[in-house]
Amino acid sequence: MLDRVEPGLAPGILDGATWDSELAAWRMPAEQLSGLRVRLADAGVRATDEIRTPPLDGAWTLPPLRWYQQAALTAWREAGARGVLALPTGSGKTVAALAAIADLSVATLVLVPTRVLLDQWATTIEALGPHRVGRLGDGDHRVAPITVSTYASAITWAPRIGDQFGLVIVDEAHHVGAWCPSEILEMLVAPARLGLTATPPIGATAPALDRHVGPVVYTITVDELAGDALAPFDVVTVPIDLTPVERATYRTHRGRFAASYGELQRRRPGTSWQEFVDIAQRTASGREALAAWRASRTVLAYPTGKRAALRELLARHTGDRILVFTADNATAYAIARELLVVPITKDIRRTERAAVLERFRSGDAPVLVSSQVLDEGLDVPEAEVAIIVGGSGSERRHIQRVGRVLRPRPGKHARIYELAVEATAEVSTVIRRRRGLSSDPMEATP
């Protein structure tokens, strides 16, 4: 509250504020509070500020930080305690974040995308810190000086608790601006902001992350940490051939799709895939082209050659913990039914999923097959072999998948197998997604 509005108040001091005639007050997004405080102080304006974020007491029992965690935190502090750390999956992002909380000793809100991550974060904080952790999401509505919230719950709670935290940590921060709406961050006064991701966004959501959390202040790639903070690993491409019938089916569908897609590109060069889909859905021939594209992908999803290769790899790694990644749920179920291994999909409920993960850890069910659920958020440190039967060309998704098997353990050497059907679109898909693993794009060629 400004004690009084001085005549001739410096222009720009209330930048971003709008006059609310109903309240007879100026309003501005909560996240601009710290900037306003600075401007008011610089201008010597007397103001009553009733927002106090409580400090945190007590000692943490954190493990010693690794060199890159230390470097990342230093970079973040030097950037004014705002910014994003791009650290690979399994490299200890959570520990780095807890060190930031301990360092600032201020009430903290942790935003996570899923209920599984909510539980993982809360459990870790309670194990390493002296604080009882508040939880918002998955049926819990408890707010504490350190609170972990799912994005979904934070949408509802942010207007009520946005003034209670001095630091906000956004896990899987590449979702800011999409799954994690920017409005959540606008409603938080916390001046200190830390984003954690293995895959900083480069598309449409990148500006939202930069604006509400800060720029990427530290990046380290998987291959820079392999053999050090991450398990050393090999990526092996397994070439797959189609049977003559499969090849003919693939060519028919692909040709049908390519005719429409090529015609569009000829007439409108540079049309994006999404634009093509939008246009195609409006006409019967366009829908047929899309159907042909889907059918061609179905041929590649799990042809005879992939079946044989998968069996061979599972036999070769008997006794190892193996994650099998597929392009879609249908293939995940097909593999699970054929080989009687456990699928993890969005349809499998939480209690059953927890039981399955426990069986995976114990070695009772050493193979998990999934299309998406294992990509992000589930902690399966025992996994040492990944078999990628199918997937998209997304670098981000590939890094997340590979990261699942890179958590270090003495003597561990991770293996990543990518099954790619020769002389099909899948080869370019594999090349595209592999770029994200390495700081050297030339290493991406299979």
């Binding site: 159907a291 889907r294 009687l340």
Partner: protein
């Protein structure tokens, strides 16, 4: 702001709904996923295609293209009609627990494991194989116990879903009913909705009831539960001869209005079940020797309508009791003002303590409000009725 008509399925849509139903019916006994793949592939749309549409992705939009939202609603309606429920869920989970584990790398190993699980479950190996994913939405088999569902029923159910979806984004709803509004009023009350009924002041059609209902987006808590309860009104609209529903809603920061008017292709819903809490209370009060009138006539004064659930005659006094589900202090104050307007001063509001929808859950000052959870304390109410501190200020 003018209200845009909510786009519902109409007679023109029935050919493609029929073709869609055919796709699902042909997949009977197979997993839902297969039907969804065929629907997505779109070959079934050939029957509804415009023959002038050349093989050209840049052709003018097909006038008969099916809007994605309506198609999704029809697919969901079919799922509800022919296989929406989990099938032998606990048995399927047990089967998975027994069968899935180490990879079965040979056919013999697979067969042996299924057979062993079958012995434990009292099923054949083939049944165990079929059962593995029978409880999962995409994998459960399509079943047509009553044959192929009628096209009209599918379209009507799809429309229910479309209106319910629109209601979930509503700040407020105005429902005008010409003719008998009783079933809707009772349904709104039975579901505990934040609804205020009044009579239209000047309706050329006469006998018009206006139901103003607060939408889920206007609440602080329980928006999903409330939105679901609100959506349960929609199937009842099919039985209304003449209605007009206006939905004031918001999405992505934009405010808009949607309208649904009769005649609309909606199912004729079953009449609402009475709220059991009220019947239990009436019985409990009668057991304590009170004279209870159930579902008394609504009281009108000008446009204001007050609809008590019970009327207790106690000596020379008549006491109105209304049971309220979802509530806010403001809603209770408005309700009490209506009772005052119709000249009734002895009023008890019984409010569901679990369905407070505001941060502030203090009842309005001067009101006689009894909170309950699941069942109303008839003894406490009897003592209250015996006292003389009921009258509204």
């Amino acid at each position: 702001m003018t209200a845009r008509a909510l786009s519902l399925l109409a007679d023109d849509d029935l050919p493609w709904v029929d073709a869609l139903t055919g796709v699902v019916a042909r997949c009977a006994g197979q997993p839902w996923r297969l039907a969804l793949e065929q629907i997505e592939a779109g070959a079934w749309m050939a029957d509804t295609r415009d023959p002038r549409d050349a093989r050209d992705p840049l052709a003018a939009p097909d006038a008969r293209a099916i809007p994605a939202r309506r198609l999704a609603a029809a697919v969901n309606a079919l799922r509800r009609l022919v296989g929406g429920r989990p099938y032998r869920a606990s048995l399927a989970r047990r089967a998975r627990g027994l069968v899935l584990g180490l990879p079965a790398l040979t056919d013999d190993a697979r067969t042996a494991r299924l057979a062993a699980a079958g012995v434990m479950l009292g099923l054949s190996a083939r049944d165990v194989d079929q059962l593995l994913w029978a409880d999962l939405p995409g994998e459960r088999p399509i079943e047509l116990p009553a044959g192929r569902p009628p096209t009209l029923e599918v379209a009507a159910l799809a429309n229910v879903a479309l209106v319910q979806r629109a209601l979930r984004r509503a700040h407020s709803i105005e429902l005008r009913v010409r003719g008998d509004a009783g079933p809707l009023l009772r349904a709104a009350a039975a579901r505990g909705l934040l609804a205020t009924a009044s009579l239209a002041s000047a309706s050329p059609a006469g006998n018009e009831t206006v139901l103003d209902i607060i939408g889920p987006l206007a609440l602080c808590h329980g928006t999903t539960v409330y939105g679901r309860a609100l959506g349960q009104l929609v199937p009842l609209l099919g039985a209304c001869r003449d209605f007009e529903l206006t939905i004031r809603a918001e999405a992505k920061g934009q405010h808009y209005q949607l309208a649904v008017r009769s005649p609309a292709l909606l199912p004729a819903g079953a009449p609402p079940r009475p709220w059991r809490v009220i019947a239990d209370l009436a019985r409990d009060l009668e057991a304590r020797g009170l004279l209870v009138e159930r579902a008394p006539e609504p009281l009108a004064a000008g446009p204001a309508l007050a609809c008590p659930d019970l009327r207790i005659v106690h000596g020379s006094r008549a006491i109105a009791i209304e049971v309220v589900g979802f509530w806010t202090p403001e809603f209770l104050a408005r309700k009490l003002a209506r009772y005052q307007a119709v000249g009734l001063r002895d009023v008890i509001l019984c409010v569901d303590a679990t369905r407070a929808c505001d941060d502030d859950d203090a009842p309005p000052p001067g009101a006689c409000v009894v909170r309950f959870e699941r069942r109303i304390d008839a003894e406490a109410l009897t003592q209250l009725i015996g006292g003389d501190a009921l009258a509204l200020d």
